[in-house]
Amino acid sequence: MTRATSRMRRPRILRNDGGSLLDLLDHVLNQGVVLGGELVLGLANVDLVYARLWVLLCAADRVLPTAAAGAMERSHRRAVRHGTVGP
């Protein structure tokens, strides 16, 4: 019974309704996308060079931490130390 109640109280995150396309693309861009491929250079049907390529498509500020982001996180850590925020 307790378990059933607990499940009922879980947040809407459990629902797998997909969300909007905007949210979906926002999530993808926040994380970035990795595209993979292989390149084979050959001559007369003889493979000479093989390269495996990975390309990361992502906003620059997501992969290169900036001073502003660092300052925000430091500020948050200070707030945690002073007990102004909880779990």
């Binding site: 879980r10 947040p11 809407r12 995150i13 459990l14 629902r15 797998n16 997909g18 969300g19 909007s20 396309l21 949210d23 979906l24 693309l25 926002d26 999530h27 993808v28 926040n30 994380q31 970035g32 996308v33 990795v34 595209l35 993979g36 491929g37 292989e38 390149l39 084979v40 250079l41 050959g42 495996r52 990361l56 992502c58 906003a59 620059a60 500020d61 997501r62 992969v63 290169l64 900036t66 001073a67 502003a68 982001a69 925000m72 996180e73 948050h76 925020v85 909880g86 779990p87």
Partner: protein, 225 residues
């Protein structure tokens, strides 16, 4: 010369969790059964595929569905970037062991928390500029650093600023983006506070006359790195 999209079997990684005792009965982007690989008190949810997945909307949706389902099962989950594939279990274990400390710290930061996203039309913002246009950068890395710095500068001051104090008590981390006239604010909030956060946000937006759109809760896509 020919280009192919890959031919050998790869492990597509969907998410990293602290621990996953419960069985997962999920399928991935290519309808492959997912399994859990554990290492160093961490667990990665993976699917074996013939080749790396193509970047399509349908594939993004399936990847997102997996991450959401996992977020409903465990208190802390880190979504992994779409398309991350490794050569095998040993390679995955090596990565988990090598990055154990930052991954565990990231898991601690998102534990029991979800992401809420607030968007608004940023009328006052200038049209997006091309940072560094006309300048020659010494390297590609220098160019990307210039773009990252420009993006950070654009975050200062936006149409949603008046709403933020009303929910600050629930916000454990915040990320702000301004792109193409849209301001987006991502907040990491405790799962149990989502309803109170949403109520306060809607009430304040109405009082301040700010037009905004609030969505969530989501897994912590904007956090945990």
């Amino acid at each position: 010369m020919k280009a192919t999209s890959g031919s050998s079997s790869v492990l597509c990684v969907y998410a990293v969790c602290s621990r996953l005792r419960a069985r997962i009965e999920l399928t991935g982007v290519a309808d492959e059964p997912l399994r859990v690989i554990a290492a160093e008190a961490l667990a990665a949810v993976v699917g074996e595929m013939a080749r790396a997945p193509l970047a399509t909307i349908a594939a993004f949706r399936k990847h997102d569905a997996v991450v959401r389902a996992l977020a409903g099962k465990v208190p802390a989950v880190l979504p992994v970037r779409f398309g991350i594939c490794l050569g095998g279990v040993e390679e995955l274990r090596h990565v988990l062991e090598a990055r154990r400390a930052p991954l565990r710290a990231a898991l601690r930061s998102v534990r029991g928390r979800v992401q809420m996203t607030l968007r608004g039309v940023d009328n006052g913002s200038a049209p997006p500029a091309r940072p560094g246009a006309g300048l020659r950068h010494s390297s590609g890395r220098a160019y990307l650093r210039a773009r990252a710095a420009a993006a950070a500068r654009e975050r200062a001051g936006h149409s949603l600023t008046p709403l933020l104090p009303a929910v600050s008590r629930w916000v454990r981390a915040e990320k702000i983006e301004r792109r193409a006239g849209i301001a987006s604010v991502h907040h990491l909030v405790p799962r149990g506070c989502v309803a109170a956060y949403a109520r306060a946000m809607h009430r304040t937006a109405e009082a301040e006359g700010v037009r905004m759109m609030l969505t969530g809760p989501f897994p912590p896509y904007a956090f945990g790195r």
